[in-house]
Every structure is written in C-alpha cells, then in structure tokens.
Amino acid sequence: MSPIPLQRFVLSVASAGLLGAVSLAALGDEQEPAWAQGRAAELGNSPLSPHAAPLTVTPEEDIPLDHLRMPDGFSAEIWAHGMPGARMMTLGDEGTLFVGTRSIGRVYAVRDNGNEREHVIVAEGLTQPNGVAFKDGSLYVAAINRVFRYDDIESHLANGGDIPEPEELTDAFGLPDDEHHGWKFLAFGPDDRLYIPVGAPCNGCEVDEDTHATIHSFEPDGSDMRIEARGVRNSVGFDFHPDTGELWFTDNNQDWIGEHGPGDELNRLGESGEHFGFPVCHSVGIVDPDLGDTDACEDKTLPAAVTDPHSAPLGMRFYTGDMFPEEYRNAIFIARRGSWNRTLSVGYDVLVAKLSEDGMRADLSPFMVGLLDPRENAFSGRPVDVLPMPDGALLVSDEQNGAIYRISYDTPDYVE
C-alpha cells in the first residue's frame, strides 16, 4: 500500500474513535455531500451530480411509452402507473406485485383484476424501503434502517381491510444503517435463505470486510448470518441461476475515477465468500489509484461481464419463461438506471446477458432502449428492475415515471 492512502486510513481510524458511530468513510472528505466523495479538486465546479427522482405522479399521457424500442416481435404497454419512485419488484403467491421505493418512503402493492391494475400503499414514511421479497405468504421489506415482515399480506389486501402492523425484524438482522449505499435489495435464494447486500458507506474507502461491501445471507428470521460475497461496492440486484443455483449480481463501480472507467459489473459467485475487488481492484482488473497495490487484483474474482462505466446496472433476473424466443432462455435481463457521473450519458435501458457455454461469462446486448436521447444527452425514464411474470412477459419498473411496463412477444409476420 502506498504511503498516502495508509496515512489517510490511520487518520480515519483515529477520528472514528473520537466520534463514535460516524462511519470511517464519511470522514475522508469533510463537508462534501456523499456523492461528491472522491471528486478531484479541479472538478469542484463540475455540473455532475445525481439526478433526483421525481416524487410526484407522472400523468399517464406523459409516460414515454412511445420512446421504447425493442427487437422485432416485442411490444411494451403501460401495465401500472401513478406510483412515484417505483423501483424493486417482487410477486406474491396470489399475483400481487409489491414495489419498493427510495426517497418517497413507500411500498406499493399492485393487484391485477384482469383488465386493469390498481395499487395501494402498504407502507409509508420509511427510509428508502428499496428491498422487497416474498416468501410463504409474507412480504419482507428492507429500508435503510429497518426490516419488516408482513404476514398473510395478500389475504389482508383481498379482504380490503387495514394491513396489520408488520413484524419488525430489524434487531434480528442487525444490519448497518449507513445512509450512503445503505438502501437494500432483497431476494430469497434456492436455499430459502434471504440474501441482502450491504454497500460500501462511501464512494471509495477501506471497509470492514465482514460488515460492508458484502452480500450476506440469513435465515428468514434474521438468524445464522453468512457472508456470501466480499468486495462488492454497491449491488442493487441479483438472482440465482435457474440450473446451477449460483448467485449472479450486478455491481456499481466507483465514481469520479474517470468518464470512461471503471466499468460497472455483472458478477457470478462461484464459491461462498469470494472477494470481488472493492476497494482495491475494480471492473476487469483496474487497480485503485489510491488504495490498491500493484498485485491488488491477483486474488480477486473478476466480473463475468462489464458494462458502461457509471451506467448503473441494478435489478436483474434470469428468464425462464416460454413466451420469448428460445435465445432468451436462461439469459439475464438487466435494468440500467443510467449515469450521472459522466458528461456523456449512458444506460437508461434494459440489457440482455447471454451466458457462455461453460456458464462463467456473459455477453451483454441492448434489449429495451429509447429512454436516452443521445443527440440531446437527455433521458425520459429510468429502468430500475425487471421481473419475468408467470405468463412469460417481462415487467420493467421506471423510477422516473412511477410506471411499470409489460413487455410481451408475438412472432413477427415475416418469420416463417
């Protein structure tokens, strides 16, 4: 390790000792907002900053459905709307779609009566309740600082009554509550355990490898915590291979290193406990300029695929349905929320990842585009999650417009 980062680290530890609960990372760049950590001094007046998600309803006629383009045969419709900040999705056993959010603090439930969808707010006033997962009749919700379980929620919704107070599992899970990269994603694995990432509480910093920049798994009651993956800066989406059960996850790489790097990641977890590089090794094997030694990447697991720097690949799911053509079977759909930390915008789309024969690597290719106007360098929507439905259609959540699109497939006329 070079002298400068070492010195910075020692200073941080000393300060943290004095200030108690304040995270190590936050002390590196005093008086900068979290998203500006790591910004070079000469970029102090850079216009780049995160795009705030609207908190208000987008009228249906303003939802950019006609911007969406997909390969021939695919078409999109507005499946549900009027839900500001709609992000992560999970499906209940009875067909209710649950949708998490960040800044507006709500969890929505969408019920499909066949002709149209209606939504209700099942939780509100929470701190970034991004994570939602469903198991055995219960909805699990993870906010930054709290975890809840809503038992029998679909029967309560069907009866039209009030939703009972949830079980609070916050203490059982015992997760850190840092704001920075503290919003959670939730998914149950094929082992029936609940998988939860804990992001690095910083843009780039030394972290405790047992608490941050990790993906943990737990029994559904919050017991028996295991560390599944280390060195994961900020994963906000994962799924399990339909055949092998392996965990595949997206990861967002560091800001302010450069317009063109390091690339964001699609990763495959081969063995529990593998280290994916943060904070010393990024993307395809780029040593961190401040924190990495020359051999920093040697014992790290490199990505199965990389995508554009800062493009923010978030929700991802394997496709096992039979509505789409054969080439999509066991491929991964990946929602990219789109960039802020580069002057030439990228992302704002859905990619498809096709795995290699040996199941170790993947090719990435555009699937749903049109929300980014490259000529104007402007965007009209931000895909955050994807969810294959039982009929084989694919739902895509658009946080910018509080809408959920349904993508379906009909064989084009010219195909014999």
């Binding site: 008086q31 907002p33 979290a34 102090g44 908190l55 208000t56 309803v57 507006i104 603090g105 709500r106």
Partner: protein
Amino acid sequence: MCRHACAPGRRALVLSWLCSGLLAAEAKSQEGPAAGLPLEEQVQVCGACHGENGNAVEAGVPSLAGQPALAFTNQLIYFRERLRRSEIMTPQAQGLSDEEIQALAKHYATRPLSPPDGKPDEALVERGRELAHEHRCASCHRSDFSGQEQMPRLAHQREDYLAQAMRDYRERTRGGPDTTMVEILRNVDDEEIDALAHFLAHFERG
C-alpha cells in the same frame, strides 16, 4: 437580526395570532386546511404564515416566493409523507394531492421575493461571501443563489430561517431524505452559519 433571535437549538416561533390561530384550528382535522380548496384560497391559507405573495414577515417562517417549483414540491411531499416531521407543516400538508402541490409550487415560483429591509453589516456580508465560496454553495444553488431544480433559493430568504435551517441540518433535526446538506454543514460552526445567513439574506452580486 438572527444573532439575537435564533440562538442555537431554540426555534424562533413567535407567530402572529392569525398564523397561530390557523395552526390551532388545524390540529383537530386529518386534512390540512388548504386541501381541496381552489388555488386562490390555498394561497390565502399559506399566506397567513408565509406572507402575502410568499414574502414572509413572521419570525422563523420561510419566504416561498421565487422558490424553484421542484424545491417547493419536494419539501411539501416530504411533509405530507411524514418523511420530514414538523409540528406545524406535517399536518398542513396532509391531504394535498400531487397536483395541488405542483400548482402551488408553480404559483410561488413566479412571485418576486423582496430583499430584506435594513442595512446589512458589511463585514458580516464579506465573511459570508468568503464562506459561501469556500463551501461551493453556488455550485448547486447557482451563482445568484436563486436555486434550481430541488435546490432552494437562498438569496433574500429570511435570515433567521436560513440560520435555523442550517443549524437543523447540522444537528440532524431537520429530517427529510436528502442528506446532502447534513454532510456539508457537519463542521460549520454557529459564527459561520450566521455569516452565511446574513450574506444570503442580503445577497447582492459583488
């Protein structure tokens, strides 16, 4: 003058009878008093505390005139959703629809905001100007401090309100999902906050 009116941790809440009467009547109802009213009447309700045309004269109450529409909208939604809790504003915001909030935001965004009466303390203005430069306030709030998008207007805002808002951010008592200002103000002391508030309230292009 703020240095006398809002000592750290003390809220400057000496409201007129009209404003406080409105708040007392409101406490009994689930919906805020402006919910469902025509815009002209909603503006009367807001104006009881926030002043005619959004130029506040009550101590500690922010002016709404000239605020970017998104800044106004987001704060009212934070109140409505109980993400930012205030004994005064959280009840006021209940029952307001997104459309009502956005219409009010648009209304106030176009009202002119008058600079404060009284002569500024030149030394304090200069100290505030230096601090604003040092903390890069203009990089988000614009070089004329008129605000943009979700970042509020600071120029000609009430000095006592600015000082209290900055203290509340620093002490993490303001609430709301956006922690940007909490980070920025973490190590800014009272003397600096008072200078910043004085400079911004009396802002003139240097």
